[in-house]
């Protein structure tokens, strides 16, 4: 079975970044050239940028009318210099809401790893880009790092809310974003692993309980809080904070928790927030 630790060791031994190990492995398994892989990843990055811009404009509303316009509110407060969290984190929140809103409103996004969790990775990476002025090439590399971790998660556990709850979707996105942020900020392969572990540990147990079964409540706002957890985890790892439990074991724990999670909490809209009085009322009004 794939282990993220194997990638960390290979990167350390060969003096490479995790991303370099990941795309070289992908070249081998897909039999595609470096150029083709980077072009395809570049297309993903372009759509991520477009979805952030579209969501920040705040013009769209979802089919149910529950989602839309919140990214613009956070962005306005940020631009006014009033943020409680500082410019970077409020930018992360605004961008994550933006992309998740675009998704709920039938706009174009990159599933990362899923449509329901599509806001976390673009929000974190594009905010780090703004802060550190990293190159386009470094951003593309960071996306390979996040995908590499995602592949490990998909193999050892899963990235599906129906199978493992929200921890498997937004939780995985959060870990993937944390690892990528560390690499982008100049951290070591080992630090990407610690950041991913700290991030995923913070999301363990999170259930998938969408109101009326829609990818709206609580999904959109959880993208934003997940993205801030990714930033906190990256900050800790870059400071040298280690995760006591290694990432592969955290992933296995996530998979195990998902198996034990009742079906009512796995994207069926039969538990949690979905069956609160307000959740039921929203469902009745809409359907």
């Amino acid at each position: 079975m794939r282990a993220y630790e194997d990638w960390v060791i290979e990167a350390e031994t060969r003096g490479l970044k995790i991303s370099e190990v990941v795309y070289q492995s992908e070249m081998e398994s897909s039999q595609q050239s470096e150029q083709v892989l980077f072009q395809r990843m570049h297309k993903n990055l372009e759509v991520m940028r477009e979805s952030v811009a579209a969501g920040l404009s705040g013009e769209r509303r979802s089919i149910s009318g529950l989602v839309g316009g919140d990214a613009a509110k956070v962005q306005a407060r940020r631009k006014a210099g009033e943020s409680l969290l500082g410019d970077t984190i409020s930018g992360v929140i605004a961008r994550a809401l933006a992309v998740a809103e675009v998704n709920a409103c039938m706009g174009k996004i990159v599933a990362a790893p899923t449509a329901g969790s599509c806001g976390v990775i673009p929000a974190v990476l594009l905010s780090v880009e703004e802060l550190l002025q990293v190159s386009e090439k470094d951003l593309l590399l960071a996306l390979f790092t996040s995908a590499g971790l995602g592949m490990t998660i998909a193999e050892r556990a899963n990235v599906s809310g129906a199978e493992g709850g929200c921890q498997a979707e937004i939780g995985s996105a959060t870990a993937m974003a944390a690892a990528a942020a560390v690499e982008l900020a100049g951290g070591t392969p080992r630090q990407t692993s610690d950041a991913a572990a700290i991030a995923l540990k913070s999301m363990l147990g999170l259930v998938c309980d969408p109101v009326a079964g829609l990818v709206e409540v609580p999904c959109v706002k959880r993208n934003a809080t997940g993205a801030t957890i990714a930033m906190a985890a990256a900050e800790m790892a870059l400071s040298g904070v280690r995760s006591a439990i290694p990432i592969d074991e955290v992933i296995d724990a996530m998979g195990d928790i998902g198996k034990q999670m009742p079906c009512t909490m796995k994207e069926t809209a039969q538990g949690g927030l979905a069956i609160t009085p307000t959740g039921r009322r929203i469902q009745a009004d809409f359907l």
Binding site: R2, V22, Y23, E26, S29, S30, L37, R40, M41, K43, N44, V47, S62, I63, S64, V102, N103, A104, C105, M106, G107, K108, I109, V110, A111, A112, P113, T114, A115, G116, C118, I121, L143, F144, S146, A147, G148, G150, M151, A154, E155, N158, V159, S160, A162, M176, A212, G213, L214, V215, E216, A269, F286, L287
Partner: protein, 223 residues
């Protein structure tokens, strides 16, 4: 979940909100259009399980029609698909139905084509935008739309499979996956061949001339 590619984890590029209920639904519509083999002008679309229950909020109806119109999952006209279909004079109706023992995200298309063709197709969206076609005109199949596919209806006779594969071998067409099934020994049978290459028309003509071959359907892969 098995081994994957980096682009399974970052991607697909799609119109939201759901990879299974939206992107997968577009692909199911697109695959149904390919199986019909012509432009659909109308029909009935039956939604089963979660497609029936939460389809509305996920734009599943819009996505299925978008696919039938030939759109891809990243087409930004998906939200307007039903209006576009109406403007073109196409007439699709939706129903909720219990289709039986299928995946929760399943749809049955009953389609009428521009030149009078007809097809009944059942397909499921099984996660992450991946789809599988389960029935064509009541025959059990398993087609994922990732290869050019031949669906051949024939009599269950010794040597027929060999004759079909010999034609493919002569045309240098490589078979990636193959499934044979039958009602009972000697009765009507079905071959599904997923190939690495598109089968040339000349080969299809020869195949249709083989004795006891009733129907040969050549289905293009999804983009």
């Amino acid at each position: 979940m098995g081994r994957s590619s980096v682009f399974d984890l970052l991607g697909p590029i799609m119109v939201g909100p759901s990879s299974s209920h939206t992107a997968g639904a577009v692909r199911l519509g697109a695959m149904a259009r390919k199986i019909l083999g012509e432009e659909p002008i109308g029909g009935t679309i039956r939604l089963h399980g979660s497609f029936a229950k939460t389809g509305k909020g996920h734009g599943t109806n819009l996505a299925l029609i978008a696919g039938l119109l030939g759109m891809r999952p990243d087409d930004e006209r998906i939200p307007e698909a039903i209006q576009i279909a109406k403007a073109q004079g196409l007439n699709f109706t939706f129903e909720s139905a219990d289709l039986g023992d299928f995946h929760p995200n399943t749809v049955q298309f009953e389609l009428l084509g521009k030149t009078g063709g007809h097809a009944q197709i059942v397909g499921s969206s099984i996660g992450g935008g991946t789809i599988v076609i389960r029935r064509i005109n009541d025959y059990k199949v398993e087609i994922r739309g990732d290869y050019p596919t031949l669906v051949i209806l024939h009599q269950d006779l010794p040597g027929l499979v060999a004759q079909v594969t010999l034609l493919l071998a002569t045309a240098q067409t490589n078979i990636a996956r193959m499934m044979v099934s039958r009602e009972k020994r000697g009765a009507q049978a079905l071959m599904v061949l997923e190939n690495d290459e598109l089968v040339e028309d000349a080969v299809l003509v020869l195949m249709r001339r083989l004795p006891k071959i009733y129907q040969v359907l050549a289905i293009e892969p999804l983009d």
